[in-house]
Amino acid sequence: MNSHIILRVVGKFLIPLIIIFGLYVHFHGDFGPGGGFQAGVIVAAGVILYALLFGLKACKQAVPPSWIRIGMTVGVLFYVGTGLVTWMLGGKFLDFDVLHPATDHPLGQHIGIIFVELGVLFTVATVMVAIFYAFGSRQPQIMDDEKDF
């Protein structure tokens, strides 16, 4: 049980940093390489690392599968929500210029894309974890003709 003590202690230090790094990649996506997809994968990597070090059961207690399903949906709704907001503000679908009145600088585009990418982050992170859960919790199938062995 305690054979991975070093890995576990280091992991406990690293996992919060991995998630913060994920958020950094997300918010930096505006100015350089990065964005919601990469950030989502990094955040999911933090969760998966936790599962590898402490077991799938502990991980499912920390991040329940029911949250995962809701997270996927929330991500999509965030993305589409930006479009709905631009519709309500009288613009075209996903026309972020209407989000902020500044005309000298496309601030509306900044705001819009951060929210869109936030949706991407949610969905990508949760889908990655969902795929991991699906593979991780698969029981080996017992065939009828193998029962006797």
Binding site: R69, T73, L77, K92, F93, L94, F96
Partner: protein
């Protein structure tokens, strides 16, 4: 502009019709109760059908609808572009979507495990949105995205047939492999086109190709990849191997939906690329039309019709028949004349309606009596007279009896072939129609002329299909009659589409 919706709704309809089902799919995925998910799905598809009808009216009066997504004007941003070529397909997809949702209320009870039903409706809405998206978009890469959106959800839907028949998993896997190859070929083709033209907007691509590429190597390569990729998706004859399995083992509502819409959307894309992105008057396009599409279409008509005759599973009969019918459409398109292309197009619409009705009826037979094989059809005419009547109308339409929609499109096809001097094609259409008489006739003969089987010495009780199934079935059956007796509207839509494709010239 003739429209019956308010200004905002009709102006935003091209994008709303895609966004609405996508959002609602997200809601359906987390619904705890499957009936709520079903109600959401039904309302969504109904709204989409109303929007689609409005779009068709708008296109008929305004010609082209163009929507700049996010306010980025084409060709720089993504453009949703609806004209005479894709508006009827949008209407077909959304109308079939409503009918299949209505039908799914009862069929999913029998086919899908309770906790998978809400995700089933979510996947259905995603597939629905993907198909609509790939039809309305005017951006080549956006087409690929929606192609994948619809395909991946379709693989899931086919695999959900596994609770009834485990072979669905195998079929879904086959479909996944071949569908992914198709999508990959398509995106490679789009990549080459981007390399050649530097744009992803289809209209802009067409302009650039007209200037720079007089049949340049890169453009030819792109064309080859796109035709093969879409050929896989639309089940062009030698690339159709995924289709019979997927149609035979998917949940019944999904089989009807796929048969009526999925291959039709891919066919639309083929028409879009061959005729409007590329210039059909170029030598290599003309050769492809004549020697590839038309020839493979005719070979497919014969081979698939023969295969249909020797199937025992009723859904496989209709699946092979679908491959044969796609052959008719490709034959019409392969002629490259206005008459031929509009004949192919009207058959695209009519076949969607007819095949939808046939698969819905087969699903109802299975729902009531568990019938899958043609040999079990005995006496169905007496046991389920109304369902069987609708099936019979659609079967006659598939064969091409005068007074049905199938006759109208086959007659158009014959006229076009004769006009083109392709007498061999006239013969091929007539002979394969006789083959259709054989494979559909087998079912009709068993259903109407054979006595119902006896169970414990007593005749089986008559049980009609439940009303949600019956409504959709009869709407499609009546549509295939109405479009046969009064073909003016579909023919007008088809000639509008041919005008978009060939510019009224040729």
């Amino acid at each position: 502009m003739s429209t019956f919706l308010t200004g905002w709704l009709s102006a935003e309809a091209p994008v709303l019709i895609v966004v609405l089902p996508l959002v609602m799919a997200a809601f359906c995925a987390v619904m705890p109760k499957d009936k709520i998910a079903w109600i959401i799905t039904l309302i969504t598809t109904l709204i989409c059908a109303v929007l689609a009808f409005d779009i068709v009216l708008q296109v008929q009066s305004a010609g082209v609808l163009s929507y700049a997504l996010g306010g980025w004007d084409p060709p720089f941003g993504i453009e949703y572009r609806i004209d005479g070529l894709n508006a009827p397909v949008v209407l077909l997809i959304s109308a079939i979507g409503v009918i299949c949702t209505l039908y799914a209320l009862r069929s999913t009870d029998a086919e899908i495990e309770p906790k998978k039903r809400a995700p089933f409706y979510a996947a259905f809405l995603v597939a629905f949105a993907g198909l609509l998206g790939m039809v309305v978009t005017g951006d080549a890469f956006n087409v690929f995205v929606f192609l994948e959106v619809s395909s991946i959800s379709t693989y899931v839907l086919v695999a959900m047939g596994a609770s009834r028949d485990r072979r669905a998993l195998n079929s879904a896997y086959n479909y996944l492999i071949l569908g992914s190859i198709g999508a990959t070929f398509f995106v490679i083709g789009v990549g080459f086109l981007y390399m050649e033209t530097g744009t992803l907007n289809m209209m802009d691509m067409a302009d650039q190709l007209a200037v720079t590429a007089d049949g340049s190597r890169v453009a030819q390569l792109a064309f080859a990849f796109i035709v093969v990729g879409l050929g896989l998706k639309l089940a062009m004859f030698p690339l159709h191997l995924w289709l019979p399995g997927a149609y035979a083992y998917a949940p019944t509502a999904i089989t009807a939906f796929l048969a009526a819409t999925a291959t039709k959307a891919a066919l639309y894309l083929l028409l879009r690329f061959v005729f409007t992105v590329f210039d059909p008057s170029l030598a290599f396009i003309g050769a492809t039309l004549t020697w590839l599409l038309a020839v493979l279409g005719v070979v497919g008509m014969f081979v698939a019709s023969f295969q249909a005759i020797f199937q025992t599973d009723a859904r496989r009969v209709l699946a092979y028949s679908s491959v044969a019918q796609i052959g008719y459409i490709l034959l019409g398109v392969g002629m490259g004349t206005t008459l031929g292309v509009s004949a192919g197009y009207v058959h695209l619409i009519n076949h969607g309606i007819i095949k939808g009705a046939l698969f819905l009826a087969l699903g109802a037979f299975w729902y009531r009596y568990g019938i899958k094989r043609v040999s079990d059809f005995n006496g169905l005419g007496k046991l389920m007279p109304w369902t069987m009547s609708a099936f019979t109308i659609a079967a006659l339409a598939l064969i091409g009896i005068p007074g049905t929609a199938g006759f109208v499109s086959k007659f158009q096809l014959l006229t076009a072939a004769a006009d083109n001097g392709w007498w061999w094609a006239v013969g091929a259409v007539v002979v394969t129609s006789i083959l259709a008489v054989i494979y559909m006739g087998r079912m009709l003969e068993a259903a109407w002329l054979q006595p119902a089987p006896l169970v414990n010495g007593k005749p089986v009780a008559s049980r009609e299909a439940p009303w949600p199934m019956m409504v959709g079935l009869w709407v499609l059956a009546i549509a295939s009659l109405v479009f046969g007796i009064m073909p003016a509207w579909p023919l007008e839509l088809a000639s509008g589409a041919a005008q978009v494709m060939l510019g009224g010239g040729l």
